[in-house]
Symmetry: C2
Subunit: 122 residues, 2 copies
DNA sequence: TTGACATATTCCTATATAAGCATGTAATGT
DNA sequence: ACATTACATGCTTATATAGGAATATGTCAA
C-alpha cells in the first residue's frame, strides 16, 4: 500500500511545509491567490494545487470576488489536530517536571563553581 | 519533487494513522513490541517499521531489556505540533462566536415554523 | 468580440512510501 | 553449541505525490 493521500485528512494535508505556511498566512485574513504566490514564493500553479488540497480537506474557505478568489483559513478544521496533540500534554508536563527536579537536585548538590558549565549546542 | 519523507519531521511522521495509534498507546506506558503488535493489529515487521520512523524523528524512546525493547512515547516531540495548531486557537474561538451569534439572530427573527428547514447534504 | 488578467487543471517525472514476505541479528535457556 | 524467542531489515509492488511547463477556464473592460 502506498502512503495515504494528502487529501485524506487534515493530518496528511498539513504534513507539507508550504501548506502550513499558507495556512498561517491565511489565518484571520482573506487573501487572493496572487498574494499567496508572492508571500510563499512558489509559482502560481503550485500554489493553486496546494490550495486545492487544503480546500478538499476543508482547511480553507474560498469566496469568489470578480476574477479573484479570496481564501481564508478555516481554523475549525485545525481543531481536531490540536485536540489530538493535547492528549499528550500531561505527559510532557511530567517530563518537564522531572527535568526541573533533576536540575534542582544538581544545583543543591554541586558547588557554585560547577554551575553553568554545561556544554553548548555544538 | 515527491512528497517529503515520513522521517523528515514529526508532521510527516504522524500523518500515518497507525503511527498515531501507536503514539497514543505508548503515551505514559512502556510497552514491548509484541504488545504493540497485538494492540494495533498489524504484523510485527510493519510495526517495527512504523517504530523505526517514530524513532528517527524522536517521537518515541527505546530501552533494551534483555531480548525485549521497551518503547515509550516522547511527548516532548509532540509539543511543537501542539504549539503550531495553538496559533489558530483564537481564530476558531472567533468562528464559534460568530456561528453562535448568527444562530441567535436567526432564532430571534424567524417564526417557529421556519426553523429547522435547512437543506441536508445532497 | 477581443484582449488581458486571475486562477485552475492537465501532463510529465523522480521519488517515496506501506504492507507482505523472507531473512538477518541479538539475547536467553539448556 | 543449538534451538528459541524477540525484533529489525531487505526486497518487491501498487500508488501517490510535488513541482515544472503548457494549457484551459472564467471574468471583466473597452
Amino acid at each position: 500500500m502506498a502512503r495515504a493521500a494528502t487529501t485524506s485528512d487534515a493530518f496528511n494535508a498539513i504534513a507539507e511545509p508550504r501548506r502550513r505556511q499558507i495556512l498561517t498566512y491565511l489565518a484571520g485574513n482573506e487573501r487572493q491567490v496572487s498574494e499567496i504566490v508572492i508571500a510563499v514564493g512558489l509559482d502560481q500553479p503550485s500554489i493553486s494545487k496546494h490550495l486545492g488540497v487544503l480546500r478538499e480537506v476543508g482547511l480553507v474557505h474560498v469566496r469568489r470576488n470578480g476574477r479573484h478568489r479570496l481564501y481564508r483559513t478555516n481554523a475549525e478544521a485545525i481543531r481536531p489536530l490540536h485536540e489530538w496533540t493535547a492528549t499528550f500534554e500531561r505527559y510532557w508536563q511530567h517530563t518537564l517536571l522531572r527535568v526541573k527536579q533533576r536540575a534542582e537536585a544538581q544545583m543543591g548538590r554541586q558547588p557554585e563553581s560547577d554551575r553553568n558549565t554545561h556544554k553548548e549546542k555544538p
